[in-house]
């Protein structure tokens, strides 16, 4: 067999590479052009009140007014509440118009998000619950701004952020 092959080579297989390459280039160009390396999407998990508390509450409050239920939900026990206000006027359309920080003693205004971060850091040293914080925003506040406030809280060291229902009429 081998001797025969050496003396008499068969027809060489001819693979047409060029059309395949053309097609591959076309596809490549398409994918290069449609390639948009966008920002990566990530997620954050919300901390809900622990299961035991909720179940106990469900049993007791099952027939109670829905409003009461609403007040209790999505809240963790926390010492600090960041209150964010907005106005749907033409000036700040859903942007932050005022921030204040509420603790057990009372409420104090904060000027900017940067100041809020510093304030939260100092307060965190003294409060009892160093993990949880609540955010109460006006109903019309843009979601983007809420995320900014959440970022500030996270930077200050609060890991669990919970939401308080927006004040009625906001």
């Amino acid at each position: 067999m081998t001797i025969r092959r050496k003396t008499e080579p068969g027809p060489e297989p001819n693979l047409p590479v060029t059309p395949m390459l053309d097609m591959a280039f076309q596809l490549l160009a398409f994918f290069v052009m449609t390639y948009h390396p966008s920002d990566l999407e990530g997620q954050m998990e919300l901390s809900l009140p622990s299961e035991a508390i909720t179940q106990a509450k469900d049993k007791e409050d099952i027939k109670q007014d829905a409003q009461v239920d609403k007040e209790q939900d999505l809240k963790l026990s926390a010492n600090l509440t960041v209150i964010v206000r907005t106005q749907r006027d033409n000036v700040n359309n859903g942007l932050i118009s005022g921030i204040s920080l509420q603790d057990d003693a009372g409420t104090g205004p904060v000027d900017t998000l940067d100041k809020l971060r510093d304030e939260l850091k100092t307060r965190r040293a003294t409060v009892e619950n160093k993990e949880n914080i609540k955010i109460q925003a006006d109903s019309k506040l843009k979601w983007e701004e809420v995320i900014n406030v959440m970022d500030v809280c996270q930077q200050a060291g609060f890991k669990n952020i919970s939401f308080v229902p927006p004040p009625s009429g906001s």
């Binding site: 080579p9 060489e12 590479v17 060029t18 395949m20 390459l21 591959a24 280039f25 596809l27 490549l28 994918f31 290069v32 449609t34 390639y35 948009h36 390396p37 966008s38 920002d39 990566l40 999407e41 990530g42 997620q43 954050m44 998990e45 919300l46 809900l48 299961e51 239920d69 609403k70 939900d73 999505l74 859903g94 925003a137 006006d138 109903s139 019309k140 506040l141 843009k142 979601w143 983007e144 701004e145 809420v146 995320i147 900014n148 959440m150 970022d151 996270q154 930077q155 939401f163 229902p165 927006p166 906001s170």
Partner: protein
Amino acid sequence: MSHGPAGQGANAEPNLTPLLDVVLQLLMFFMMCVNFVSEQVNEDIKLPKSLAVKPMDKAEADYLFINLKPFAIQDFQDRLPSDVLARVQANFREGDECILVPGKEPMRRNDLRVWLKQQYEDARQVAEQRGAKNVNTAIVIRAHKEADYGQVFEILQMCKNVGYRRLMLRALTKNVPGGAT
């Protein structure tokens, strides 16, 4: 060359095979990097950027997506059949709260509640059949950055009241100049 019969002259054809190899490799790379716009993730939604988000856990598959954005008719213009589009147009005005879930027409909050309850009930039955105690579905909320806090809060509240225990918010990762804090 060595195989060619003598007297035919040099074969000047370039060797395309390595080139093709490289091209196919590149092709493979770009094909894999393309973000396949899956039905669940609505690309019209511009998510807010956040420093606090964590990368997604790809291993987990039990997600339910809820997309929220202010209504804009151009999002649906070429994507829905004309009868559905007319219905949607009659129901929504520009800027209204509009909830999108995979495989359903744009919804309002009340429709979402009904749908969520149904989904939860189905999931509970499946969980019972498997012998699991709780529904482990995670709700992923993708809210447009222009959406109102009140709307997002209501949806969170609704999911919680229906019985879901795991709620997640989606945002884009923000790059901090000078490294992460």
